[in-house]
Every structure is written in structure tokens, then in C-alpha cells.
Symmetry: C2
Subunit: 340 residues, 2 copies
């Protein structure tokens, strides 16, 4: 992304842009797996692919620390893995990255090789973003008015982004597009992060509240919906930021294509359907407060699922780095992953 | 409502609960039509029926002031009407109440009779609420989990409420219900006002963000949706708080009944369909700020329609003080209004 570096490995530490502080640009230097776990849990870094990259570096930091203490051993590294895996339950990329790191650790003679694997994961994630952008931009027609949800840009991946990466790629190819960005309550990633990225890129857009999406579709002012994914089951059912399912239902009702953009590392073949994906329930305070402002009376009970499931039936295409998948997804996903 | 008095005529002034200050209970004394117009515009009082009642008293205050100044004349009263009518464009009850006040003024020999007409409007609005509650409670089955949007309670009408009035009536009849209340961005009437009323009434509920509605329907945790209305066209198309249409689409997708509760004063026979209802676009700051907290970077463009249109096709029933209307609404509305 132009200017800011959301995730950067300095050789010894992990430097991240604290996404809870934006639009103020505050960087954090993380030097232990505990600090990385905390940053993921507190959503100082978020977005499924970025969580994968950062967790990989957290694991590498653990390996470096253990070496320093003379305690470099697989059993210790397994504890580092468990710590990082316990931060958030839904995003597939977290577990995918940690499993890769653990396999690398099993082969490695020292922490340097483990750090190298984290760098590989980062490089591959960036490269996947580029290819997702290229593939997805083919779907975007000149003049399209695109609705997107949450943040799926550079901040969410460390590269160019998934859904927002497609939007940027189409824009850079000269397509005249217009974006409607949902604010994405409760954490407001649309208002805070996507708006910030779109402004930097110069892409014309308007911010709307989540409840406005249906109205603009009803008015005929939305031509497609693009969202990211936190986990995709073997049949194509997709977990993504809460509110995504509602947009998918609205899109189908209005005959609007609904596209999911995600790297194949988000696909979890071990889960047959979306019903099997664990949905994180987060702190009620996220709903009850906006910054320092409390929005509801004392004593109010709150539900705060962070994700929802969009059944594959509602999805028109899944844009990956390896190509665009079409329904029936159970088949197209299997074929794609078998072929590679 | 137990305890608080959202709207009260003191004999000379209009005392209202400032709804922008809740849960702090701050009362305002309004003594001129200008002050009333300001309170409506700033949403210190809101909700279609309450706006109607308050505008009627604003008109009455105008009549009293004109009398004081020795300028009591129909032409002056017409200017008072225009001032009050210019505050908000969507709610039918505002215009309905002002037209009634103007007709009363044409017959009146002095301001006392005009005040009396405002009191009639208030009494009728309260009585309509009671009957809407009674009629609607018939539809609510024991154990139902009810989703509602925005605030449609005592604060919205001055009586017991429309949609929330139905919920309260069912609860008071001993039905074990559970409410999911959407926070209703941007103004958060669900989080601030509905939560406050439900707490006072002791009705069990959870607060959710607007984007969560689909998820809870998908989980099978919603049995019906009840909302209010700001204007109902002759064919049953309904303007209501932004986000309502999205809930209606979701409800139909899940086979969940979708009920609108409103007094017949909300029906506008002069408009054939919802496409003809003017939708108010409000200040972008409502989206960009939550209290003192700014949620998006500088330079962001915002859309802020305050209402949307739910086509009659999505509505299972319209609950009025004169009975429950069923589709086809063009016919049932016409019959109901002809019969009375």
C-alpha cells in the first residue's frame, strides 16, 4: 500500500501499524509471541490473511526467544503455537500459518529457518493478493458501483488486500468504478480502515451504515458486492465479518453478483459445511461503546458474534490466487486444490 | 409509559423529554412554534406519531402567541403550519396533524379551540396506541422471539408505542417473549431508546448491531419482525427507519412474518406507491460521529438517507387501531378507510 506499512519484519522484531488507532498512524514493535497474541486478540492487527502472516512471525519470535534462553525444542514451540492459535477461532489462515510453521520447525535445525518460513508465508500472501487482484479485476466492468463490507485491503493482508485488492486493481487498470463502503459495526472497520485506504488510493466512494445496503440496492445503485472471507468450508460456505450474510441475501434478491475474494489458504477442506465453522463471540463492550462514547443504558444484554456464515448458494464466484471458482463450489474447490 | 412523560402539555407550554440526551432524563419546555420546529428537526423528539402530536401543540403555541400579539389570523396560522411542516419530509403524521390543526383553525373563534384540537390529536394518538397494542398482541404467540428496529415505543408516540406497544401489550398479557433490538445506526434509537424502554418494562432482550439480524434469522432464533412506519402509501408500501427494508428481505428469505404497526394517520392515500414517498437525507455528521467520537477520516463522503421503502409484498400484516390489515393491502387499506 502507498505509504504505510501495516506489517513489517525488521529482522528481529515485528513492526505493525496499530489498526485500532487509525487514522492516527501508530506503529507497535512486537518482540515476543505473547505480544503478538495480544495484538491479534485486541484486533490491533486483523483480517484473516494478515493474522496468518503476523502469527507466523509470532511463532518465529518464539523460536528466536527459545534459542536465546537455550530452550529451543519442539515441545516448547508447540506451546508457542497453542498460545497463538488460542487468540481467535474463526479465521482459517491463522491455523494454516501455524501448521506450516510447526512443520517447518520439525525440519529446522535452528530458528533462522523458522524465520525464513514466516518470510515465505508473507511473500506468498503478498503474491496471492496480486493474483487475486488480477483475477478479480477481470470481473469488474467499467462503471460498476461496487458495495464492499469491512476492511479487506492492505491492512487486512499486509499485501494489497483481497476484496479491496480487487477494487484497487480494477481502479489501477483505469476502470471507472464507485464504491459503497459499509461502516461495519461494531468495530467500524469500513469507516475507519477501508475509508482510509480508499482515500489514499483516490478511489471515489461513499460511506454508508450497514442498514443502508438494502436501500441502495432497491434504488438500483449497486452493480456487484465483493467481500473477503475468514474461512471457506469444503462446500463453499463462507465465514466472514458479521453482516456479510445479510448483504448476500440482499444481493440475490436484487439479482446482483456476490463475489468472495480470498487466498486458497482460507479454504478449510476439513469442514464439510459452514455449520461446522466456529463463530467467535466477542466482548459486549465492542457493541456498547464507540471509542469513549457509551451508546446504551447500563444493564443492557448484548450479542456480539464477530462473523456470520454465507451459504455457498448465495455466492456467484470465489476469486482466489489460482483462479476464479464458480458453483457448484464443492466440485470447483476440490478440483482446484487437487490440481495444485 | 411507567415513570417518564415523553410529551406533556402544561396548559401554556409543551414539555418534552429530550431524546438526544437519554439515558439522561432532560426535559425541555417549548413555548413557541419555532422552538417546537427546532426540536423536531434536531430529533429531540422523533417517531412519526409523536412528531404529529408535538407539531399539533406547536401549532397551538403559535395560535396562543398570535393572540397575545393581537395578530390571530388564518394567514398567520398558515405560516406557522408551513414552518412546522418544513421540519421533516417523510413522516405522514406530521402533515396529517397540521392539516387537522389548520381545519380546526378555520372553524375556531380563538386559540382555546385550537389548543383543544391538539389535545384531541394527543388523546386519539394514545388511544390508537392502546388499540394497536391490543390488536397486535393477538398475533404474538407465547414464547416468540421478536426482532424490532429503531424505537417505536412511548418515546415515538407519546402513548405506549406502535411496534414496541405491541411487544409491551403481549408481555403484559403474560406472553413469554424475547426481543432482539437492533441498535439502528446512525442515530442509535434502538440502543438508546428502545433498550431504555425495554429495561423499564422488564422485558428480556438483547441488543444487536444492524448487520447481525440476518445471522440470528439464519440460526432460527427469530420468530417474527415488528416495525413501525413513517408513511404508508395507498398500496401498502411502507417508509420506515433506514434498515427496515433489509429486515423485510431477510424475513421473507427465512419465512418469518413481517408486521408493520402504525395508526391509520400514517396512511397516505394520495400516494399510489412507495416510490412516491419523499426520503429525507440528513446531515453526514450523523454517520461520521457517535457522540463526540469521530469514526471516519477527514474527507470522507457519506450518504445518509433516514428512511427506506419496504414494498407491500414483503409485509405480512399492518396492525392499526382499526384492525389488522392483510394483503392485498391496496384493497384492505381502501376498505378499512372507506368503512370508517
Amino acid at each position: 500500500m502507498r505509504g504505510a506499512k501495516p506489517v513489517e519484519w525488521t529482522g528481529e522484531k515485528l513492526r505493525i501499524l496499530d489498526q485500532t488507532e487509525l487514522p492516527r498512524e501508530v506503529y507497535l514493535e512486537l518482540s515476543s509471541p505473547e505480544e503478538v497474541a495480544e495484538a491479534i486478540r485486541e484486533m490491533k492487527v486483523r483480517g484473516a490473511p494478515a493474522i496468518g502472516v503476523v502469527a507466523a512471525y509470532g511463532f518465529a519470535l518464539g523460536a528466536l526467544k527459545l534459542k536465546e534462553k537455550g530452550a529451543f525444542a519442539l515441545s516448547e514451540l508447540r506451546r508457542v503455537k497453542e498460545l497463538l492459535a488460542s487468540t481467535r477461532p474463526t479465521a482459517r489462515n491463522l491455523f494454516w500459518a501455524l501448521e506450516r510453521m510447526m512443520r517447518a520447525a520439525e525440519q529446522a535445525s535452528g530458528p533462522e529457518e523458522i524465520v525464513e518460513e514466516a518470510r515465505n508465508i508473507e511473500r506468498e500472501t503478498r503474491r496471492a493478493d496480486e493474483l487475486i487482484g488480477e483475477n478479480g479485476a477481470e470481473l469488474v466492468r467499467d462503471g460498476m458501483r461496487i458495495l464492499t463490507h469491512c476492511n479487506t485491503g492492505a491492512l487486512a493482508t499486509g499485501g494489497e488486500g483481497t476484496a479491496l485488492g480487487v477494487i484497487k486493481a480494477a481502479w489501477r487498470k483505469g476502470k471507472k468504478i464507485f464504491v459503497l463502503a459499509t461502516e461495519t459495526r461494531p468495530r467500524l472497520q469500513g469507516a475507519k480502515l477501508t475509508a482510509w485506504e480508499l482515500l489514499r488510493e483516490g478511489i471515489p466512494f461513499s460511506l454508508i451504515t450497514d442498514g443502508m445496503a438494502g436501500y441502495f440496492m432497491w434504488r438500483g445503485e449497486v452493480d456487484c458486492v465483493i467481500v473477503g472471507a475468514d474461512r471457506i468450508a469444503a462446500n463453499g460456505d463462507t465465514a466472514n465479518k458479521i453482516g456479510t450474510y445479510t448483504l448476500a441475501v440482499l444481493a440475490r434478491e436484487h439479482g446482483i453478483p456476490f463475489w468472495v475474494a480470498a487466498p486458497t489458504s482460507t479454504i478449510d477442506l476439513s469442514l464439510p459445511s459452514g455449520r461446522d465453522i466456529p463463530i467467535e463471540e466477542r466482548d459486549p463492550e465492542e457493541v456498547l461503546r464507540v471509542g469513549s462514547e457509551r451508546i446504551a443504558p447500563q444493564g443492557v444484554s448484548v450479542k456480539n458474534p464477530a462473523f456470520d456464515i454465507t451459504p455457498a448458494d448465495y455466492i456467484s464466484a470465489i476469486i482466489t490466487e489460482k483462479g476464479i471458482l464458480r458453483p457448484p463450489f464443492a466440485e470447483s474447490i476440490r478440483k482446484l486444490l487437487e490440481a495444485t
